[in-house]
């Protein structure tokens, strides 16, 4: 038997020097093509605007590595694709490291130091690991083929809601061909690798240092045995090995060369995108510096280099397309297509040697690669796309920045225009007099402290809907009673409160937002309090996450956490269990935006409600359709609406009695939707505050009794 330590694979065995030279020449060309492609991409990104990257590099790097290794984001809400991708990822990484190891031995430490380590036990274990890696890779690839070819999930259908058949950029067959070419290329590299391995074994079957150790390459060994059984001779195997060697080698080199030119580049761009991820991307939108000449994104070069990189990270996985409430009701928006359109636009304009003139860089419009006005105004800024994206693409800030340009041009729905003017004039979206803001307090049997005049523990930021909308005013009064009953020292700002600006900012009216935020911060400064509470998740989000950028740092909570504490401390004591079968709707700005999933559920538990979750809950909650200023814009007549879609989901829960919300806009949206979907009388929509108040009363209120009956 040959000494185990000498066992290895001779590279270029029986190759003429000319053949070896030819291989290195081809490899050199491949690396040059790869390098040029990388250069073109980097030049493209450098043509973008400056990017503001928040957070330390180390923390972001750690998060990226964690995400890559765990595959957490890829596996979310698509287990099959996630596991298959994990196999491909680990298989690919191992095979890449393997090839690099051989290069290190043969081309670096060998020639330079005369040291070789790729033999003996190391070589044998190496062979085994790589054989397994090839199995992982092939298994993953085969599942992906099965998924694309047979399962055909709707999110992988590239049909566009924002284009019509026949439009220049409607056809996505190029993407489909690329997907298949990618899968087949990798699979062919893997298969030819195994057959090549087997052919070598058959060819060198006479050599014990090869044949006796064949089971360290189990897949190759099985194929080799099969080949011999079928009568493959050693000379024939040698010929097969020669041709397959070149096929496998050139295909692998071509794959590497084409990385920057194809979807394969996502191995770099997705990692880069994850490295630059801003966990607050949707919660805290970027401001517009006073020095900036134009507000918002008009030209492709107005995108930051980070955003350009984001575009290239997209793998068309369709998770955002599936999650988008606008897309779900047939609006001309798919977050995926916004990203792909802009990517196509960036590739067409920014990969050229010379930067085209500004006129050709405008991203607004209906030409191929441009984003239509209707598309931008369809967005509810619900954050579903940002939240689900496995590669940290930040669609929402980009859409808002593009809207800023529309706002500057006045390209908006007339009703939205009226609302913004009303907010500018009166500080509220209802166009009511400032003096009417505290009108709801007049119906209370107790006084509400004026936080402008006396110091309070808790400042209650009421918000527009809770202050002015008649239905919500009742809830607001009820909440005041709860605070009063619990003996909380609280007050409100009366006329000095303005619209918090969360939705104004998401509309893209940054100047008005700055005015509102500054006005509220000034009112806060003029009063004395320890912390803020609000029943409005929209106000909660902007005060918590965006006011700090304007110098307003406050401790603020949504009422759900406060009430939960009051219940736990027995300062609010329910007199009875409600015993209702309920479901809970997570408001976007409380749930996804600020992770406030648990407090409302805990309260429902304490009230003795049976909570039945909808399929889409917590992080995957489905927007009511009111966000991003859409509540100030009419929905198309006759079209489906997100709130209706949601009501149908809730109605499918057997025996549902109460659809519980914890956001003033949700109450308005869903009470309308309840009627519009014909579910009135089957169950009711209620604010959680109303249920709490009911539980504090000894007797059943008539409204609940009717439903429970």
């Amino acid at each position: 038997m040959v000494a185990r330590d000498a066992v290895t694979r001779v590279l270029f065995e029986q190759f003429s020097p000319a053949a070896i030279g030819a291989f290195y020449a081809i490899a050199g060309v491949a690396v040059a093509v790869f390098g040029f492609g990388v250069y073109v991409q980097i030049r493209k990104y450098r043509r973008g605007a400056a990017a503001e990257i928040r957070g330390g590099l180390l923390g972001r790097f750690g998060a990226m590595v964690g995400t890559l290794l765990s595959h957490r984001t890829v596996a979310r809400r698509d287990r099959g694709a996630g596991e298959a991708h994990r196999l491909i990822f680990y298989g690919f990484v191992l095979l890449f490291l393997g090839t690099s190891t051989i290069t290190l031995d043969y081309d670096v430490v060998g020639p330079l130091l005369g040291v070789h380590f790729w033999h003996g036990d190391f070589y044998l274990w190496f062979s085994l690991v790589l054989d397994v890696a090839g199995v992982l890779l092939s298994g993953g690839l085969l599942y992906m083929m099965y998924r694309r070819g047979w399962l055909k999930p709707p999110k992988l259908d590239y049909a566009r809601p924002d284009r019509k058949p026949g439009d220049a950029d409607y056809d996505r067959s190029g993407y489909r061909r690329e997907d298949w070419a990618f899968l087949w290329t990798l699979l062919l590299i893997a298969i030819t690798g195994y057959v090549l391995e087997a052919a070598r074994l058959v060819w060198l079957a006479g050599r014990p240092d090869v044949w006796d150790y064949r089971w360290w390459s189990p897949v190759g060994a099985i194929i080799a045995d099969a080949m011999r059984a079928l009568g493959l001779t050693a000379p024939a195997a040698a010929a097969l090995r020669w041709s397959l060697w070149w096929f496998h080698g050139v295909l692998a080199l071509a794959f590497i060369a084409l990385i920057p030119y194809s979807k394969v580049k996502h191995i770099f761009t997705a990692a880069g995108s994850l490295l630059l991820r801003d966990p607050q991307a949707a919660q805290r939108l970027p401001g517009v510096p006073q020095s900036q000449e134009r507000a918002g994104v008009q030209y492709i070069t107005d995108l930051s280099w980070k955003q350009l990189l984001n575009l290239d990270a997209c793998t068309k996985c369709g998770r955002c397309h599936e999650a988008c409430p606008a897309r779900a009701v047939g609006a001309p928006l798919s977050p995926r297509d916004v990203i792909l359109s802009l990517r196509e636009f960036a590739n067409r304009t920014l990969e050229s040697r010379e930067l085209p003139p500004a006129a050709e860089l405008d991203v607004h419009g209906k030409a191929p690669g441009q984003v239509a006005t209707e598309t931008l105004w369809s967005c509810r800024t619900c954050m579903a796309c940002v939240e689900v994206c496995p590669v940290a693409i930040e669609h929402l800030p980009l859409i808002v920045q593009m809207r800023r340009k529309l706002v500057e041009d006045g390209t908006m729905d007339p009703q939205l225009q009226k609302t913004l003017q009303a907010i500018h004039k009166s500080g509220n979206s209802f166009g009511e007099s400032k003096r009417k803001r505290p009108a709801w307090t007049k119906g209370l049997p107790f006084a509400v402290k004026d936080a402008r005049k006396e110091s309070v523990e808790l400042l209650w930021f009421v918000g527009d809907y809770a202050s002015f909308d008649p239905r919500n005013q009742k809830v607001t009064q009820t909440f005041a009673s709860l605070l009063h009953q619990a003996g909380v020292d609280y007050g409100i700002l009366y006329e000095a409160e303005s619209n918090a600006g969360n939705d104004v900012r998401r509309v893209g009216e940054e100047g008005l937002y700055e005015m509102l935020a500054t006005a509220n911060i000034k009112s806060f400064s003029g009063s004395s309090f320890k912390s803020i509470v609000t029943t409005d998740p929209h106000s909660y989000n902007t005060i918590r996450n965006e006011y700090p950028d304007f110098g307003g740092n406050y401790s603020i909570e949504h009422y759900t956490t406060l009430v939960l504490r009051l219940l736990q401390e027995q300062r609010l004591a329910p007199k009875r269990k409600l015993g209702l079968r309920v479901t809970f709707h997570d408001p976007c700005h409380l749930g996804r935006f600020n992770k406030g999933y648990d407090a409302p559920r805990a309260i429902l538990g304490l009230l003795g409600c049976e909570l039945v979750e909808m399929g889409r809950c917590r992080a995957n909650s489905f927007c009511c359709g009111a966000g991003g200023g859409r509540i100030w814009m009419p929905d198309p007549v006759g079209a489906d609406r997100p709130a209706h879609n949601r009501m149908r989901e809730a109605a499918a829960i057997p025996g549902l009695q109460v659809y519980v919300v914890s956001c003033p806009k949700d109450l308005t949206m869903f009470e309308d939707a309840l009627k519009a979907t014909g579910n009135e009388g089957k169950f009711v929509v209620k604010e959680l505050i109303e249920l709490i108040a009911e539980a504090l009363q000894a007797e059943k209120s008539p409204a609940t009794a009717v439903v429970a009956a």
Partner: protein
């Protein structure tokens, strides 16, 4: 080519309000001020003529009012006016529509525009007289309640469509220079973003006094006005009343009122 647009900073009543001590106006604290709604449309029409781009056009807004009227002018600058002029003198207080028209006519003579736009009326005092009075003082032709306009910059005449009763339109040709009072709905006024309003704050507003326009103090203000406000008041309420309470209480009360009114005692 120039278009002069006369605008007004109007007052709207807040939720509750009080009449001024002298009883001739509302206490200013209770007024919310804004650009007159009609003027948004006339300004938009002027800016659109410029943006049609067939020849260079300058859009000038003019306002008769104290310093706080600058806010309305800034809004006009944000919406695309090239230049703003404000005329004020303490002597102007109490001017009627004709006295204001004297000032506007003087500005028009100074600027020599091809067209002068005014709103059909101001939403607060609703005289609907200032525009046409200015035309009379200038001796220019005028068209009132213009709901449609076709005009090529530099042309000697314009075609206007005026809104008449019953939805009919009155199309006429008018020689320039002319005064047009613009009706709501002639166009869709653009939105002035807060950013553009802030940027407009940096643009200068030309302030003129009466002397510079060659107007004597006696020609304006109460002295130069033929109409003077005697008093402003809220008329006594009518006999309508809200019925409150439960449905039963409301019904009983309603029945009582009917009985009282008809004199039946069944």
């Amino acid at each position: 080519m120039k278009v002069l647009v006369a605008v007004k900073q109007v007052a709207a009543l807040d939720e509750d309000f009080e009449i001024r001590a002298d009883g001739r106006d509302v206490e200013p604290d209770f007024l919310i001020r804004d650009l007159n709604e009609w003027d948004e449309y006339s300004l938009e029409e002027a800016v659109r003529i410029r943006e049609a781009g067939t020849a260079p056009v300058e859009v000038i807004v003019v306002c008769v009012g104290p310093e706080d009227a600058d806010e309305a002018l800034r809004k006009c600058l944000a919406k695309g006016a090239d230049r703003a002029v404000r005329v004020w003198d303490e002597a102007l207080a109490g001017s009627d529509a004709i006295a204001i028209a004297r000032v506007l006519a003087a500005v028009a003579r100074k600027e020599a525009p091809d067209l002068l736009f005014a709103g059909v009326q101001a939403s607060d005092h609703a005289f609907a007289a200032t525009g046409v009075a200015t035309a009379a003082l200038l001796g220019w032709p005028h068209a009132a309640v213009v709901a449609g306009l076709t005009y090529t910059p530099g042309a000697k005449s314009a075609v206007v469509r005026r809104e008449l009763e019953g939805g009919t339109l009155h199309e006429m040709q008018i020689e320039c220079p002319a005064v047009l009072t613009i009706q709501l709905g002639i166009n869709a006024p653009r939105y002035a973003s807060l950013r553009s309003i802030k940027q407009a704050a940096a643009k200068p507003i030309e302030v003129l006094g009466l002397e510079e326009l060659g107007i004597a103090a006696g020609e304006v203000g109460e002295a130069g006005s033929a109409a003077r406000v005697r008093r402003m008041y809220i008329p006594d309420r009518g006999r309508a009343q809200m019925l409150e309470g439960s449905v039963e209480e409301q019904a009983a009360r309603l029945a009582q009122i009917i009985k009282d009114a008809t004199g039946s005692a069944r």
